[in-house]
Symmetry: C2
Subunit: 422 residues, 2 copies
């Protein structure tokens, strides 16, 4: 292989490092070189300490990720680098310990390469990050830097968080693989909470196999193996009008391709309750974000950017009664969600409305992704082609609660199948 | 009233401060005086800054808690005082911002009096705190200092956290009122997580009315009013053999007293699935605590006290498959829990096996409390008498999910009714 090391998948790096084909230092240097060449444009990184990364690479600790660098969304506290939460009020904050998810990866041999840009408090006030393939376009958010850095081959994988669509949307816009596990599986210790009923740690990488490896580390389980043809349910939603021309067709082509490779594809009726999730999720999100932002609102409300201040204002208007009604409704929907999988193994739906929109003032529409965050279901996005501007289009695959390993097995098979017929 | 101000209930303080009968400074001085006189024995406080508390009392900010001091379990980060997590590894750690629950109370006018002692990482390695009424006995844990400080009239109320029985057990042993709301209602931002599927912020005070006031602040809802006679279900469990002689009789007497005041009391059959919770909860707890402790284990595993190291070791042995099976079972039990309330409004059961046990090396048996934490149901404990050693006996009242306000209405009525017939 003549590709530079920064382009390798996690699984390729693991193999090469084990074989001694190259060293952890070689990998870190390749990543740093790419960052030096590209980050002035992409602006994926907000804290980077090359000397510390090199020091870690010189003596990597053992484990399945021995010597593999990764990026950390800047809402996870880190011991080696400051944590800014994408917010002026937190700039330069330091911590004695890593967040738990960071420590799990470091404890498996991974090296923190740096902190990646996030929307303020993982909300809607965008980071400076630009789409690597089209700098006038948003990379999505709020895990903007994590997705852009992985897509631009600055780092093989990165940690993100998803409360609405903050892992899947930027991964989908940037054309890489995003994974939001079932709620509560990966540790949230050391995170700035956004809306605690939904806050989920997620992963962004360039291949489903990489996600499967990382999932096995978090879950202390065997590494999911590539699956076989399966029963796919094509699910529409109340959000179909939001799709860009071409997105529905791309999903249909994906379904046809997978059917051609042996899958059963069933078009499912859209249940009525699915549409109600958008509204109820907004209520719970606003109420909980208001409480989670209480510390900063008390000390320095003026530091909030306009989008954060607006979120906080919305939250202030939500009463406890309204909040509890929304929580009850969402709980009922979670019960009903099991029936979406009657006769099918996974669902297929658009991950985003289409290509990454132009402009850096919004990170895009979260509604297609947040449905699954709200239901606590595991979801993974995979690129399925390109739109009229040449930017990625992405589909989302969704599995029943706790079927994360089966979802990743399916994603590995789908990724391979789509690549073979592309 | 000739009682010193440190003995006043929160609601009494609110009234007196509003009327100008005394000042916030008077209240703080009374609390500090009590602490100076008693904390050498009780050891409820781990960080206290009298000058800062006085400075806050000089210019209390507005809100329903204007000028009321409170204690904060030392697993909540605070901006004004260091946060030690009950652990040598965190000693002296400082933060730029408060945890969200602390900020909610400060934003309502409350003053942080100090940080209260906690078991290491809110686990089982006990704090130094002693039972205020019997210094050779445990006050319970892990919110040991919060319960002891409130019981000893050093502060009118305190924040705690409950992952197993860490609010209800110490409150029950100390003979004060503990409240663990439905899962997820109060913000966990800024907490050291223990087991995230269960971690719940809770309250300890000396009256149910005080808890109702505080609940209305967290929930931004009207203050629950005192209820009327209601339908009570007497629930046994697989843990009856653990009860001390006299505890079952005290519960029966309480039930008889409430029946005499107009309640319907029904003895419920113990459902089979209830017993399974103890085992499944232990699995989820161990798996999640292992992940939450990853940062400290990575940086300084040697700093763990024996109990924490043992918890961490147990967690390491739990595979992802075992964990997911336990999560699924618990989810099913949560569904079934609704049926416990067929025909009754609230459940009555022992909060603890009996009086606070002698010795400071264990904080007592969490099993009676953790049933409700695992099910995510709101629970409040109230003192119902004294045992053979003269220490408090306490009952637990439990309501359906999200019926927190109704539970507190009931608790206010029960408290009044028991006091009237005592």
């Amino acid at each position: 292989m003549n590709r530079p090391l920064n382009e390798y998948l996690v699984t390729e790096l693991v193999e090469g490092l084990e074989e001694g084909a190259f060293s952890a230092m070689d990998v870190v240097e390749a990543c740093l070189e790419r960052i030096a060449a590209r980050d002035e444009i992409v602006q994926a990184w907000v804290a980077l300490d090359p000397e510390r990364a090199r020091a870690s690479a010189r003596h990597p600790s053992g484990g399945p990720l021995r010597g593999i660098p990764f990026g950390v969304k800047d809402v996870f506290r880190t011991a080696e680098l400051p944590t800014g939460m994408g917010a002026a009020a937190h700039a330069g904050s330091t911590d004695r310990f890593d967040a738990a998810a960071v420590a799990v990866l470091r404890g498996s041999g991974g090296l923190v390469l740096g902190k990646t840009a996030t929307a303020e408090y993982a909300g809607t006030a965008p980071a400076e990050t630009r789409h690597p393939a089209a700098p006038a376009h948003t990379p999505g958010g709020s895990s903007s830097g994590s997705a852009a850095a992985v897509a631009d081959r600055m780092v093989p994988f990165a940690l993100g968080t998803q409360t609405g669509g903050s892992v899947i949307r930027p991964a989908a816009f940037c054309g890489v693989v995003g994974f939001k596990p079932s709620f509560g599986l990966y540790p949230v210790d050391g995170l700035k909470m956004a809306a605690q009923s939904f806050d989920t740690v997620g992963l962004i990488a360039r291949g489903a196999e990489d996600i499967a490896l990382l999932h096995s580390i978090f879950m202390r389980c065997g590494r999911p193996e590539r699956g076989a043809p399966l029963r796919i349910g094509l699910l529409g939603s109340h959000l179909e009008a939001s799709l860009q021309p071409g997105m529905a067709a791309a999903i249909d082509e994906t379904a046809a391709c997978l059917a051609g490779a042996g899958c059963t594809v069933t078009r499912l009726a859209t249940p009525d309750w699915l549409a109600s999730l958008t509204e109820h999720r907004a209520i719970v999100n606003a109420f909980e974000r208001f409480a989670a932002l209480a510390p900063e609102a008390l000390a320095c409300h003026d530091s909030f950017r306009a989008e954060t201040a607006a979120t906080w204002d919305r939250g202030r208007e939500v009463t406890g009664e309204t909040y509890l009604t929304a929580r009850r409704t969402i709980d009922e929907c979670r019960q009903r969600a099991a029936s979406l999988f009657d006769g099918v193994d996974i669902l297929l739906s658009p991950a985003v409305p289409g290509e990454a929109p132009k402009g850096l003032r919004s990170t895009g529409d979260p509604r297609l992704q947040e449905l699954w965050t709200t239901l606590h279901l595991p979801t993974v996005c995979l690129p399925i082609g390109h739109g009229p501007r040449g930017l990625p289009l992405s589909a989302q695959f969704v599995a029943p609660l706790y079927d994360d390993a089966r979802l990743l097995s399916a994603a590995m098979w789908v990724e391979r199948t789509l690549a073979a017929t592309a």
